[in-house]
Protein backbone atom coordinates (compact mmCIF):
# COMPACT_ATOMS: atom_id res chain seq x y z
CA UNK A 1 0.00 0.00 0.00
CA UNK A 2 1.80 3.10 -1.24
CA UNK A 3 1.59 6.18 0.99
CA UNK A 4 0.31 9.44 -0.45
CA UNK A 5 3.34 11.74 -0.74
CA UNK A 6 1.13 14.70 -1.63
CA UNK A 7 0.72 15.52 2.06
CA UNK A 8 4.49 16.08 2.57
CA UNK A 9 4.83 19.46 0.83
CA UNK A 10 1.47 20.48 2.27
CA UNK A 11 2.66 19.88 5.83
CA UNK A 12 6.05 21.42 5.09
CA UNK A 13 4.36 24.56 3.83
CA UNK A 14 2.54 24.68 7.14
CA UNK A 15 5.71 24.42 9.22
CA UNK A 16 4.74 27.66 10.99
CA UNK A 17 1.55 26.09 12.30
CA UNK A 18 1.19 24.63 15.80
CA UNK A 19 1.26 20.88 16.39
CA UNK A 20 -2.42 21.04 17.33
CA UNK A 21 -3.32 22.51 13.96
CA UNK A 22 -1.17 19.96 12.18
CA UNK A 23 -3.00 17.27 14.19
CA UNK A 24 -6.36 18.62 13.06
CA UNK A 25 -5.20 18.59 9.42
CA UNK A 26 -4.03 14.97 9.74
CA UNK A 27 -7.22 13.88 11.52
CA UNK A 28 -9.40 15.44 8.82
CA UNK A 29 -7.08 14.08 6.12
CA UNK A 30 -7.62 10.52 7.40
CA UNK A 31 -11.36 10.94 8.04
CA UNK A 32 -11.98 12.41 4.58
CA UNK A 33 -10.09 9.43 3.11
CA UNK A 34 -12.24 6.95 5.05
CA UNK A 35 -15.48 8.75 4.22
CA UNK A 36 -14.64 9.00 0.52
CA UNK A 37 -13.60 5.38 0.20
CA UNK A 38 -16.69 4.18 2.06
CA UNK A 39 -18.89 6.35 -0.17
CA UNK A 40 -17.27 4.96 -3.32
CA UNK A 41 -17.54 1.35 -2.12
CA UNK A 42 -21.17 1.87 -1.06
CA UNK A 43 -22.01 3.49 -4.40
CA UNK A 44 -20.34 0.61 -6.25
CA UNK A 45 -22.32 -1.92 -4.20
CA UNK A 46 -25.67 -0.21 -4.46
CA UNK A 47 -25.55 1.11 -8.03
CA UNK A 48 -25.34 -1.66 -10.61
CA UNK A 49 -24.09 0.56 -13.44
CA UNK A 50 -21.60 2.52 -11.36
CA UNK A 51 -19.63 4.64 -13.82
CA UNK A 52 -16.25 4.22 -12.07
CA UNK A 53 -16.30 0.44 -12.67
CA UNK A 54 -16.34 0.89 -16.44
CA UNK A 55 -13.61 3.50 -16.71
CA UNK A 56 -10.23 2.35 -17.98
CA UNK A 57 -7.77 2.32 -14.98
CA UNK A 58 -5.23 4.21 -17.11
CA UNK A 59 -7.51 7.26 -17.05
CA UNK A 60 -7.45 7.17 -13.22
CA UNK A 61 -3.66 7.40 -13.41
CA UNK A 62 -3.88 10.41 -15.73
CA UNK A 63 -6.41 12.06 -13.43
CA UNK A 64 -4.23 11.47 -10.35
CA UNK A 65 -1.16 12.89 -12.11
CA UNK A 66 -3.12 15.93 -13.24
CA UNK A 67 -4.30 16.52 -9.67
CA UNK A 68 -0.77 16.14 -8.34
CA UNK A 69 0.46 18.79 -10.78
CA UNK A 70 -2.40 21.08 -9.77
CA UNK A 71 -1.56 20.52 -6.08
CA UNK A 72 2.12 21.32 -6.72
CA UNK A 73 1.19 24.55 -8.53
CA UNK A 74 -1.30 25.48 -5.82
CA UNK A 75 1.22 24.93 -3.01
CA UNK A 76 4.00 26.75 -4.88
CA UNK A 77 1.98 29.91 -5.50
Amino acid sequence: MLPDFAIIPLLLTGSTLSSQQIGVIIAVFISVGVATLLAVVAAASLIADFALKKVNPAYFDYLVSFLLFITAVFVYF
Partner: protein, 162 residues
Amino acid sequence: MKNRDRRAYKRIFICSNFNRLINISAASGKVFSLCKFFLKSVSNIYILARLYNRTFNQNVSINFAGCHDGCNVSYDSPRPLAPDNDHIKKVGIFECKKYSIASSIAVIHGALSSAIAVAVLYVGLFFLKKFVQDITFAGLLLLIIIGVYFVVNGYIERTKAP
Protein backbone atom coordinates in the same frame (compact mmCIF):
# COMPACT_ATOMS: atom_id res chain seq x y z
CA MET B 1 -2.76 33.48 15.22
CA LYS B 2 -1.37 35.90 12.66
CA ASN B 3 -3.31 36.62 9.51
CA ARG B 4 -0.54 35.05 7.43
CA ASP B 5 -0.62 31.86 9.50
CA ARG B 6 -4.39 31.77 9.34
CA ARG B 7 -4.28 32.02 5.55
CA ALA B 8 -1.63 29.31 5.38
CA TYR B 9 -3.69 27.07 7.67
CA LYS B 10 -6.82 27.59 5.59
CA ARG B 11 -4.99 26.95 2.34
CA ILE B 12 -3.31 23.78 3.58
CA PHE B 13 -6.54 22.54 5.13
CA ILE B 14 -8.50 22.95 1.90
CA CYS B 15 -5.71 21.70 -0.34
CA SER B 16 -4.89 18.55 1.65
CA ASN B 17 -8.49 17.44 1.88
CA PHE B 18 -9.33 18.27 -1.70
CA ASN B 19 -6.33 16.24 -2.78
CA ARG B 20 -7.36 13.39 -0.48
CA LEU B 21 -10.91 13.36 -1.74
CA ILE B 22 -10.00 13.28 -5.41
CA ASN B 23 -7.04 10.94 -5.07
CA ILE B 24 -9.07 8.37 -3.19
CA SER B 25 -11.95 8.62 -5.65
CA ALA B 26 -9.61 8.28 -8.60
CA ALA B 27 -7.70 5.38 -7.09
CA SER B 28 -10.89 3.54 -6.20
CA GLY B 29 -10.52 1.22 -9.20
CA LYS B 30 -7.34 -0.21 -7.74
CA VAL B 31 -8.76 -0.28 -4.20
CA PHE B 32 -11.75 -2.24 -5.47
CA SER B 33 -9.48 -4.96 -6.76
CA LEU B 34 -7.65 -5.02 -3.41
CA CYS B 35 -10.96 -5.26 -1.56
CA LYS B 36 -12.03 -8.07 -3.88
CA PHE B 37 -8.79 -9.92 -3.12
CA PHE B 38 -9.35 -9.65 0.64
CA LEU B 39 -13.00 -10.59 0.31
CA LYS B 40 -12.08 -13.60 -1.76
CA SER B 41 -9.65 -14.75 0.91
CA VAL B 42 -12.22 -14.26 3.65
CA SER B 43 -14.95 -16.01 1.68
CA ASN B 44 -12.61 -18.87 0.86
CA ILE B 45 -11.87 -19.39 4.55
CA TYR B 46 -15.59 -19.32 5.29
CA ILE B 47 -16.39 -21.80 2.51
CA LEU B 48 -13.57 -24.10 3.64
CA ALA B 49 -14.88 -23.98 7.20
CA ARG B 50 -18.37 -24.87 5.98
CA LEU B 51 -17.05 -27.69 3.82
CA TYR B 52 -15.03 -28.99 6.74
CA ASN B 53 -18.07 -28.87 8.97
CA ARG B 54 -20.24 -30.66 6.42
CA THR B 55 -17.63 -33.25 5.61
CA PHE B 56 -16.66 -34.31 9.07
CA ASN B 57 -19.44 -33.36 11.44
CA GLN B 58 -22.74 -33.65 9.62
CA ASN B 59 -24.58 -35.99 7.30
CA VAL B 60 -25.68 -34.30 4.13
CA SER B 61 -29.34 -33.92 3.40
CA ILE B 62 -30.52 -33.05 -0.12
CA ASN B 63 -34.06 -32.05 -0.83
CA PHE B 64 -35.36 -32.84 -4.31
CA ALA B 65 -37.85 -30.15 -5.15
CA GLY B 66 -39.14 -32.17 -8.12
CA CYS B 67 -40.46 -35.06 -5.99
CA HIS B 68 -44.18 -35.06 -5.41
CA ASP B 69 -43.84 -35.77 -1.74
CA GLY B 70 -40.79 -33.57 -1.26
CA CYS B 71 -38.63 -36.61 -0.55
CA ASN B 72 -35.36 -36.18 1.29
CA VAL B 73 -32.28 -38.23 0.49
CA SER B 74 -29.73 -38.50 3.24
CA TYR B 75 -26.16 -39.62 2.82
CA ASP B 76 -24.64 -41.46 5.73
CA SER B 77 -21.14 -41.05 4.37
CA PRO B 78 -19.49 -37.64 4.53
CA ARG B 79 -19.59 -35.78 1.25
CA PRO B 80 -18.31 -32.26 0.48
CA LEU B 81 -20.75 -29.95 -1.23
CA ALA B 82 -20.27 -26.94 -3.42
CA PRO B 83 -20.55 -23.66 -1.51
CA ASP B 84 -24.08 -22.53 -0.89
CA ASN B 85 -23.98 -18.98 -2.26
CA ASP B 86 -27.55 -18.19 -1.27
CA HIS B 87 -26.76 -18.97 2.33
CA ILE B 88 -23.63 -16.84 2.18
CA LYS B 89 -25.66 -13.92 0.83
CA LYS B 90 -28.14 -14.31 3.66
CA VAL B 91 -25.44 -14.04 6.29
CA GLY B 92 -24.72 -10.45 5.32
CA ILE B 93 -21.32 -10.59 6.99
CA PHE B 94 -19.59 -9.75 3.74
CA GLU B 95 -21.19 -6.33 3.58
CA CYS B 96 -19.70 -5.51 6.98
CA LYS B 97 -16.36 -7.01 5.94
CA LYS B 98 -16.31 -4.96 2.77
CA TYR B 99 -16.87 -1.68 4.58
CA SER B 100 -14.50 -2.54 7.42
CA ILE B 101 -11.76 -3.50 4.94
CA ALA B 102 -12.35 -0.31 2.95
CA SER B 103 -12.14 1.85 6.08
CA SER B 104 -9.07 -0.05 7.33
CA ILE B 105 -7.31 0.51 4.00
CA ALA B 106 -8.14 4.22 4.12
CA VAL B 107 -7.01 4.56 7.77
CA ILE B 108 -3.73 2.69 7.19
CA HIS B 109 -3.06 4.63 4.00
CA GLY B 110 -3.82 7.99 5.62
CA ALA B 111 -1.89 7.20 8.82
CA LEU B 112 1.14 5.98 6.86
CA SER B 113 1.14 9.06 4.62
CA SER B 114 0.73 11.39 7.61
CA ALA B 115 3.46 9.60 9.60
CA ILE B 116 5.94 9.99 6.73
CA ALA B 117 4.95 13.65 6.25
CA VAL B 118 5.28 14.40 9.98
CA ALA B 119 8.68 12.65 10.07
CA VAL B 120 9.88 14.77 7.14
CA LEU B 121 8.46 17.89 8.79
CA TYR B 122 10.25 17.16 12.10
CA VAL B 123 13.50 16.43 10.33
CA GLY B 124 13.07 19.69 8.45
CA LEU B 125 12.32 21.68 11.60
CA PHE B 126 14.86 20.22 14.02
CA PHE B 127 17.80 19.08 11.95
CA LEU B 128 17.62 21.03 8.72
CA LYS B 129 15.93 24.16 9.93
CA LYS B 130 17.82 26.34 7.48
CA PHE B 131 16.73 24.17 4.57
CA VAL B 132 12.96 24.00 5.17
CA GLN B 133 12.36 26.02 2.03
CA ASP B 134 14.53 23.58 0.05
CA ILE B 135 12.68 20.62 1.55
CA THR B 136 9.39 22.21 0.49
CA PHE B 137 10.70 22.49 -3.06
CA ALA B 138 11.92 18.90 -2.86
CA GLY B 139 8.42 17.87 -1.77
CA LEU B 140 6.91 19.70 -4.74
CA LEU B 141 9.43 18.04 -7.02
CA LEU B 142 8.44 14.70 -5.51
CA LEU B 143 4.81 15.45 -6.35
CA ILE B 144 5.72 16.14 -9.96
CA ILE B 145 7.85 12.97 -10.14
CA ILE B 146 4.94 10.91 -8.79
CA GLY B 147 2.67 12.60 -11.33
CA VAL B 148 5.03 11.64 -14.16
CA TYR B 149 5.16 8.09 -12.78
CA PHE B 150 1.36 7.91 -12.92
CA VAL B 151 1.36 9.16 -16.52
CA VAL B 152 3.94 6.53 -17.53
CA ASN B 153 2.09 3.81 -15.61
CA GLY B 154 -1.20 4.77 -17.27
CA TYR B 155 0.43 4.73 -20.69
CA ILE B 156 1.94 1.25 -20.05
CA GLU B 157 -1.43 -0.07 -18.85
CA ARG B 158 -3.16 1.33 -21.93
CA THR B 159 -0.64 -0.25 -24.29
CA LYS B 160 -0.91 -3.61 -22.46
CA ALA B 161 -4.73 -3.63 -22.54
CA PRO B 162 -6.20 -5.73 -25.37
